[in-house]
Symmetry: C2
Subunit: 388 residues, 2 copies
Amino acid sequence: MSAATESFFRSRWVEPPAGVEELDPARLAPGFRAAGVACGLKAGGGTDLGIVVCEGDEVSSSMLLTRNAAAAAPIRVCREQCNAGLLRAAVVNSGNANAATGEQGYSDALAMRDGAASALGLEPETVAVAETGVIGVPLDIESVRNGIESAAAALLETGGEDFAAAICTTDRWPKRCTVSLDGVTVSAQAKGAGMMEPGFATLLGFVQTDAVVPDPEGALRAATAASFERISVDGQMSTNDMLMLQATGASGRELPAGLLEAIMVQLALEVVADGEGATRVGRVDVAGAATAEEAERVARSIANSPLVKTALFGRDPNWGRIAQAAGMALAGEELDELGPAEIDAEDLSSEAPEAELSVALGRGDSAWHMYFSDLTYDYVKLNAEYTT
Amino acid sequence: MSAATESFFRSRWVEPPAGVEELDPARLAPGFRAAGVACGLKAGGGTDLGIVVCEGDEVSSSMLLTRNAAAAAPIRVCREQCNAGLLRAAVVNSGNANAATGEQGYSDALAMRDGAASALGLEPETVAVAETGVIGVPLDIESVRNGIESAAAALLETGGEDFAAAICTTDRWPKRCTVSLDGVTVSAQAKGAGMMEPGFATLLGFVQTDAVVPDPEGALRAATAASFERISVDGQMSTNDMLMLQATGASGRELPAGLLEAIMVQLALEVVADGEGATRVGRVDVAGAATAEEAERVARSIANSPLVKTALFGRDPNWGRIAQAAGMALAGEELDELGPAEIDAEDLSSEAPEAELSVALGRGDSAWHMYFSDLTYDYVKLNAEYTT
């Protein structure tokens, strides 16, 4: 799934609305500019500071932040010091998560946000701040300040690629798109990799559109529930998850039905496919649960089982491990025995990069599905041999 | 931790009662006999069928069974057809878990139990049955019947080693001991490896003693709460977990305080140390929690984090990953930021096979601890390259 020349909507599990056109992902939705520059946070000099900004002041927005109780400084600044409904811009760095950095970290995140607001000529509370990278290391705020000046001077309507690069950490490829349909354009950028079972946002994700979005929070929550809330790389909720939607309304048209969801599901699948060490993506469909909550609990148990994840890697159609994980999720309850009649695991043995599993619990009419990556030697290598 | 010549009580986290004497683990507690034979379930002809029996009819016993809702046939037989308080014997096979095997599996487990009762001349409900190995494969009941005949004819007072070998699967070394103190003898055998975060028992564990145990269920539950309920190899609750205590009372003395717990904690640590692919054992101590449940939730989140487990493997004192896992366990709550002042992760970088982590949450006075193995290349290899 890594070839940049492929269609953006390349997963068999995503069906974009009919007639959607894919544009150059460097070109943002009309009314937005972005930039990505190298400011020295990443060893090796990679692009590590990005800004995305809405040019006009007619913007409606929303933002979802991690529920991790050890949330990073930028999450706390967003929660306490930003107007989520009126966000004009976001400033982002990779290479340092500014998490578990105490009071100094909070004031650094605030200084970063205020520096961007000043450079862009915006009210501070209309600028969001996001950071990703190593935890527990003080932020080099001087480098960040210099990066902000450079990025603010480099903003382009075609800055989408540079911005997408600036938010990546251990990602193997950028996750971004620009699509249009029915007179509306949407551009989006995300990053993922590890520490990835979002509470209600992925590590970092940004969506820009010229559509009219009357309820940006409702729209973002609904699309997130179908996408970033249904993925797991390693079952770990990050300290820095953030997802943001900005809409100018300049097109005068509403978002075509299903478009935001299709974009976000594809981006979420890119994050899973590019999970640390991942070689394959699995989808598990749980049906016949007594409640939707039960279906989700069983699906998460299967998706996070290291035994199922190694079976996905090893192409082993091992339905016994799926039965075990389902039974663990329902511990203490009575469950009819699960066997090959109720569990379809054959796809695990296919050569395809995407594999689909299904479980029929026979307890009711509720269903749920989610996406997950495999557990590989490279996951161990990435996390045992390098400090992240 | 694999040298059979070492002391049984070899973990730095186990302090056996003063004066305890370690005996030959082949020799069972007085009044018990056991055997282990090869009946053909294990490819390669390894020992795979065991029987342990109390010679006299003065026995009090208790049994703890997995809470996994997809419990295997032998668990269902034990639950429905055995008298947990009056167990004279257990018959066990390795090589096949007889799990997810439907009605045939249930009747096979029952036939195995009844066959052992008949061979031993015991009432069927006084014989427990346990099985461990591959899930979802029909049991070769004829081989099991032959094995029962051979084992029943081979029962010895010195059969502890053979019995311990008969219950092993991917274990790299047997886990067993015979110890005496204050005129009481206790022998015990356990096995572990993968699919290991017991609900309230390890995969398989057996304890025999000539002590007077007035409340065997209370005694077993208390010792299990301090041992097998505090370990995780891969966070996976098995379909076949079972733990059993038999006491004859023939010594006329009660169990010395702390002895059963010390034995079971050491056995549980052996199971962790011999977890699939494991090279190191970690202990995490969580203090300052608002409630004991909260302390346990945080400890389990840390112990099961693949990021912490790979850091244990890689000897990376990465306290940021511990902060993240703690924050994930407390998602949605307010938590003071956790940093090096609250988290001690230095031991991760030591050369020792046992590493100790601690976290002070600063939310109250409750504490909890648990033990876990590291996540290694060999864990992936064992579970990706072989069907288990």
